[in-house]
């Protein structure tokens, strides 16, 4: 029996031939006792391979894997929250810087004189500026506090 025929019979038993090849092999086996015997041996081997005992992961191993992945997911969540908080604080800082510049200009420049006549004294604007500063500090404190809480939960 040639090596090519042996290969075809083995692959037929393994279910690795395309339908046309498999049909040709089957047709040949009906007329060739030697090849039919060889094909039977390959089928027997393949069936035994599929029936080998199946080792399974222990519960402890699965639990360790789950714990490791959950730790990774928690790190990712924390990292995403930190990025978002940082982006917000940076944007807020830039906003405050621009607003401060406008306020200083309003309180000290020619515009202040015009606004004073229609919107009130510069002291009111200064008070508004202070309140805004206090508010921004409070927001930052809340954000930092939440982060500390999250870190405490993870560790």
């Amino acid at each position: 029996m040639s090596a090519h025929v042996t290969e075809l019979l083995a692959l037929a038993a393994a279910g690795a031939l395309d339908p046309e090849e498999a049909a040709r092999v089957e047709a040949h086996l009906r007329d060739c006792a030697a090849c039919a015997s060889e094909a039977g041996a390959w089928r027997s081997l393949v069936e035994r391979l599929g029936g080998m005992p199946a080792p399974r992961p222990s519960r402890a191993l699965v639990a360790r894997a789950v714990e490791a992945v959950e730790g990774l997911l928690a790190e990712r969540r924390e990292s995403a929250w930190n990025r978002a908080a940082l982006a917000f604080l940076v944007a807020f800082a830039w906003t405050m810087a621009v607003v401060s510049w406008l306020l200083v200009d309003l309180l000290t420049g020619e515009l202040a004189l015009r606004i004073e006549r229609s919107f009130g004294p510069p002291a009111a604007w200064y008070a508004a500026y202070l309140v805004t500063g206090w508010f921004s500090a409070a927001v930052a404190a809340v954000l930092l506090g939440r982060r500390r809480q999250e870190e405490g939960r993870i560790t």
């Binding site: 393949v46 035994r48 990774l72």
Partner: protein, 185 residues
């Protein structure tokens, strides 16, 4: 709906429930594959854990239009082959010489299955080269079709077919050498 796709989407959003679903469906076959490929239980356990970590890290790269199983096995395979290259750089195709008959069996897989009816077959499979063990496990234990086998191995279908035949031929050759009267003759 494909539950794997749903769970992969959950995992991508950082939901641990997605991981639970994927592990529940794939953990047994993944562990069996790693054990066949790596041959040592402790190494396979480490690779098992590393595989799920890698899955969680790279789930964003998973194409949900394709089945999850081959992608998972490809991730596991890369990790396992990296390990084999680091620890056995000589050749992934080299045959592991099995213990002498009656000797102490140091391969946990072979030790576990030696008590079963197909002890001889398992012993001989465990003694094959990693690449041979891998292709046999993927085709006959994990029941991957030839196209999935080729995708997992990262080779064209004709190459996958050639590897499959080579593994079968080597297995049968060894079986005939150790037990010529058995049915695989």
């Amino acid at each position: 709906m494909d539950p794997d796709r749903d769970d992969a989407a959950r995992l991508r959003r950082g939901d641990p429930a997605g991981l639970a679903g994927l592990m529940g469906r794939h953990q047994d076959r993944l562990f069996r594959y790693l054990l066949r490929l790596l041959g040592e239980e402790t190494v396979a356990e480490d690779a098992f854990q590393q595989t799920w970590l890698r899955v969680a890290e790279r789930i964003g790269r998973y194409d949900a239009a394709r089945p999850f199983g081959p992608w998972l096995f490809a991730v596991a395979r890369n990790l396992a082959l990296d390990h084999l290259r680091r620890h056995r750089p000589e050749s992934l195709d080299e045959i592991d010489e099995p213990e002498a008959p009656g000797g102490v069996d140091t391969d946990p897989l072979a030790h576990a299955v030696a008590r079963q009816q197909s002890a001889r077959l398992s012993d001989v499979v465990a003694g094959l080269a990693p690449r041979d063990r891998e292709v046999l496990s993927l085709r006959f234990e994990e029941d991957l079709a030839l196209s999935q086998l080729a995708e997992t191995l990262g080779v064209p279908m004709p190459t996958a077919k050639a590897r499959l035949y080579r593994a079968l031929a080597r297995l049968r050759e060894r079986l005939l050498a150790t037990a010529p009267a058995e049915a695989w003759r």
